[in-house]
């Protein structure tokens, strides 16, 4: 069963940008693409825990600001020859609001 939590209005996330949701246990980056798709993942690069939320978003990936690893927003997996994966969370948009389910998505 999903447990949706309202986190932010879509318009409050910049296009090709992100916002950070802080929970008791971790930080979650919520990304918005140029086509208004929204993705959420743990705000830690699988490489050296860089804050992915601070990276440059392009297409459906984000480039980590620390060492330029490219992470797929949908799966949380590192792209290219790099290997690693970060947790992603289900997201939905309803009447302009973004909801996240904090249950960690099934590992891909």
């Amino acid at each position: 069963m999903s447990n949706w939590t309202e986190v932010v209005a879509l318009d409050d996330i910049p296009q090709l940008g992100s916002r950070v949701v802080t929970t008791d246990t971790m930080k979650i980056a919520v990304f918005r693409t140029s086509t208004d798709e929204v993705f959420a993942m743990k705000d830690e690069c699988p490489h050296k825990q860089g804050p992915l939320s601070q990276g440059i978003v392009h297409g459906t990936s984000v480039t980590c600001p620390l060492h330029n690893w490219k992470i797929d927003l949908a799966s949380g997996e590192a792209l290219g020859p790099d290997e690693g994966c970060t947790n992603v969370f289900p997201v939905k948009i309803e009447s302009g609001m973004v909801y996240i389910s904090f249950r960690i998505a099934e590992a891909a």
């Binding site: 802080t22 804050p51 601070q54 480039t63 330029n68 490219k70």
Partner: protein, 817 residues
């Protein structure tokens, strides 16, 4: 329904074209979304790295190690692979290919990559057992087998391939004699002195040579027993390898009525005279040239693939090639026209006892060709100078001593990669050893610097080991090394180079990022982390009055005006003009540190105070306090004007001339806030003792009694570069004007992320002087444009954010649970 694409020739060029084609796949699945693909290969193997046959023969690699695409790769990409069966006929009317075994394979588009055949000299006895070319795995198998049972080998042909074959056979334990028609080895790649050095070194290893020997007959019964020459002399041989050259293999194409000359004739989009049929590789003749090295073939493959994928605007315009010999322990490099003609000039360095020889052929101070032996570290540098037609007048006196890119911070004094042990650290940033790089190259079938960077991370951080990595790449894959292409695209999103983008923005008045991407046919909808910051900068630099900065195209540091640290906190550096500071200001900084619990403070090399460990959400409040105390952003985080460093100055120093400290403040007031392609540092020293280290700055001023020396293009760091003297001026006003003009010229013309030092080296100091020093009108115009741009740049980003701008950046969303 997908169209049918058939590839004839399962070799490096053809398969590379398929790989390039798959990169255009938009469906997210493997293989091609446009074509059903069939590959016909006459050899019974999947695609392997033909260049690596020499190391296989020398016993340094196994066949398995040189397979580029495994059988699984063909399956994964839904390719029907036919091996061990050759195409016999192309029926262009029926659009069907008939194979030797009688199969009929229909096609809509056809790609011919049939490669080349070794040239077998038509002398009597050339068909005897034990006589072969050196072209494929089969040849290598036969040679290795022969080495087990026989002792004496003759290699006919003292070119690149012949010498590699001879070296391999020698490693397999045979006595090898190389027979060459001319009087010097590798005459197409080497001049006589280099050739003599090579011959001496191979002789030392036990190789024998018969020069100026014309083969007349291969003697023997069923099997070869020797070679007879035109002068009647003979050499014994149990094995004869003919390596006198290759011939494009275009028989099939020609029989099918496709126009051929010395090869299959293609246009700039790699199409034959039949537009449904493409051809790439050694079988091709393009603009009257046939290529036998792999780098050009890969360029052709890319162009053909773009066309097949229907995204093609790229054209193949021919290649400039360079050569390396893959004989372990021999460093040799050549490129271009290295035999001088009348009117050319020659620069030469020869050290016989240490076996070093370097020669550059120049015409009007542009490199036409180079030959190097013994020390080839600067081969790639000379090659790029040649390719870019750089005028070398400014550094002609020292060019033979190399680029000095070795001995940089982090790699000691390594001068020859061939002799380095496998555990030698090459990339000091990411801890990558020579062995790691060599292994990645062999294992993954890598040919380019970008691929090495992606797989090993070597040279992907500070980039100072790029020269070393390129050398390892070149010596590992030999002539297969894909040189940095003549035109280097900004990133994978485009085929355009930095210069093309800069020019298009100016010439076509492109004023937004979408406009640039549409006009230049970007391949991705919103670019990537490499091109977006570049485009954003170019637009801002060109249209300072109109362009709206795009925060999401800024690297995080410039987006939030602080320097991200490894734990995700930020550092803050308030600007102190000229490095001067007052007690009140120091007090304000101290108060801020107490208030925000700053864990560490540090004095920087640029005479500023750095506050570390600031949480992102605290930044605006901290900036408010600093702004109230009169500070503006120090831009220590940006590709921007950083600091003006000054010395004690004549107020106090007994040696000082001019008012250097005041000048430093004025320069910083002029330039602060300006964004650049890279960081940009200034310094003013009050006398030639140069305590402010002005001669390793992007723009440095050294005051002398009679005026001001202006120095440009220096930097400390990885690769220390001392400035070049731009000129000397007499007044402070002139210093400001020249500084603004130089800065603006850099801002308008350099490539994004290119500091002034490599920019000055690339375009040449003379070309900068022509405008900034010799042309008063242009200098004033540049200065005016700089000041105009500064009107929009000198708005303090800290104050804006302290006042609430971009607040979403700094406000986390808190959710319990």
């Amino acid at each position: 329904m997908k169209e049918k694409l058939v590839l004839i020739g399962n070799g490096m060029a053809g398969v590379r074209a398929l790989e390039e084609l798959f990169k255009h796949n938009t469906s997210g699945e493997s293989g091609s979304d446009l074509y059903d693909i069939t590959v016909i290969g006459s050899e019974p193997h999947p695609n392997y790295n033909r260049i690596m046959l020499s190391p296989v023969l020398a016993g340094e690699k196994t066949i398995n190690e040189i397979i580029l695409n495994s059988t699984e790769w063909y399956e994964e990409n839904n390719i029907s692979l036919i091996t061990g069966d050759a195409a016999k006929e192309i029926s262009r009317v029926k659009k069907v290919i008939v194979t030797e075994s009688g199969d009929e394979i229909p096609y809509d588009r056809l790609l011919i990559a049939t490669g080349s055949n070794p040239f077998i000299i038509p002398v009597p006895g050339a068909d005897r057992e034990g006589v072969l070319g050196f072209r494929d795995i089969h040849d290598v198998d036969v040679m290795i087998d022969a080495a087990r049972n026989y002792k004496k080998a003759v290699v006919i042909g003292g070119g690149l391939l012949g010498l590699e074959a001879a070296n391999g056979l020698m490693k397999q334990g045979m006595y090898v004699t190389v027979v060459h028609l001319l009087d010097s080895l590798m005459e197409r790649q080497l001049d006589k002195p280099a050739s003599a050095l090579l011959k001496a070194s191979l002789e030392q290893r036990g190789m024998k040579f018969l020069m100026e020997a014309q083969t007349a007959e291969i003697v023997g019964d069923k099997r070869v027993t020797g070679v007879r020459f035109a002068d009647g002399s003979e050499a014994e041989a149990d094995l004869v390898v003919m390596a006198v050259g290759i011939r494009p293999n275009f028989e099939l194409a020609q029989q099918s009525g496709i126009y051929c000359e010395r090869g299959i004739v293609v246009n700039d989009t790699m199409q034959t005279y039949d537009p449904t049929i493409y051809a790439v590789g050694e079988c091709v003749q393009h603009r009257n040239e046939c290529y036998g090295l792999v780098a050009p073939l890969f360029e052709q493959a890319k162009v053909a693939a773009n066309h097949l994928a229907q995204v093609g605007s790229t054209r193949y315009i021919g290649s400039m090639t360079s050569t390396k010999l893959k004989v372990t322990g021999i460093d040799l490099f050549s490129a271009g026209e290295f035999n001088e003609e009348e009117g050319d000039e020659v620069l030469q360095l020869q050290d016989v006892s240490s076996g070093v020889y370097k020669k550059l052929v120049l015409k009007d101070n542009v490199i036409k060709g180079t030959v190097m032996y013994g020390d080839t570290m600067d081969g790639t540098w000379y090659f790029s100078l040649m390719r870019d037609k750089t005028n070398i007048a400014d550094f002609r006196k020292t060019i033979l001593f190399g680029q000095h890119d070795l001995g940089d911070a982090g790699h000691g004094d390594k001068t020859s990669v061939m002799s380095l042990p496998d555990d030698a650290e090459i990339c000091g940033c990411n801890g990558v050893s020579k062995g790691d790089i060599v292994q990645a190259i062999s294992k993954n079938g890598i040919f380019t610097l970008e691929e090495v960077q992606a797989h090993t991370k070597a040279s992907s951080s500070c980039g100072s080991c790029t020269g070393l990595v390129e050398s390892i790449l070149a010596s590992t894959v030999g002539e297969g090394y894909t040189e940095t292409p003549s035109k280097k695209p900004i990133c994978k999103c485009t085929d355009c180079s930095h210069d093309e983008v800069i020019d298009a923005i100016k010439d076509h008045e492109l004023k937004t990022m979408p406009a640039v991407r549409e006009f230049l046919e970007w391949k991705t909808p919103d670019g990537c982390a490499a091109c977006r910051p570049a485009l954003n900068y170019y637009l801002m630099a060109r249209w300072p009055e109109e362009y709206q900065d795009d925060a999401q195209s800024r690297f995080i540091n410039e987006r939030v005006h602080g320097n991200i640290q490894k734990d995700g906190t930020y550092s803050v550096v308030p600007r102190m003009f000229g490095g001067l500071v007052k007690p009140d200001e120091l007090r304000a900084i101290a108060d801020v540190c107490d208030k925000f619990d700053v864990p560490e403070m540090k004095v920087t090399g640029g005479q500023r105070i750095d506050l570390f460990g600031i949480k992102k959400e605290d930044l605006p409040a901290m900036w408010k306090d600093l702004t109230d105390a009169g500070f503006v952003s120090g831009h220590a985080y940006g590709k921007a004007m950083r600091t003006v460093k000054t010395c004690a100055g004549k107020t106090w120093c007994r040696f000082g001339t001019q008012n250097s400290t005041r000048l430093g403040v004025k320069l910083e007031e002029l330039t602060w806030g300006s964004y650049m392609q890279h960081k940009f540092k200034l310094a003013v020293s009050g006398c030639p003792r140069n305590c402010a280290e002005a001669t390793i700055k992007d723009f440095g001023v050294v005051c002398v009694d009679s005026g001001y020396e202006l120095h440009v293009g220096g930097n400390g760091g990885i690769k220390v570069r001392v400035t070049d003297l731009l000129c000397k001026v007499e007044t402070e006003e002139e210093v400001l004007e020249y500084c603004g003009a130089f800065t603006q010229k850099y801002r308008e013309e350099a490539h994004y992320l290119e500091r002034t030092a490599p920019w000055v080296e690339r375009v040449g100091l003379s070309s900068i002087k022509e405008v900034v020093v010799d042309n008063a009108e242009e200098r004033k115009a540049l200065y005016e444009r700089f000041k105009l741009s500064q009107k929009y740049a000198q708005i303090d980003p800290w104050k804006e954010r302290a006042d609430g701008a971009a607040s979403h950046e700094f406000t986390p969303l808190k959710i319990a649970g």
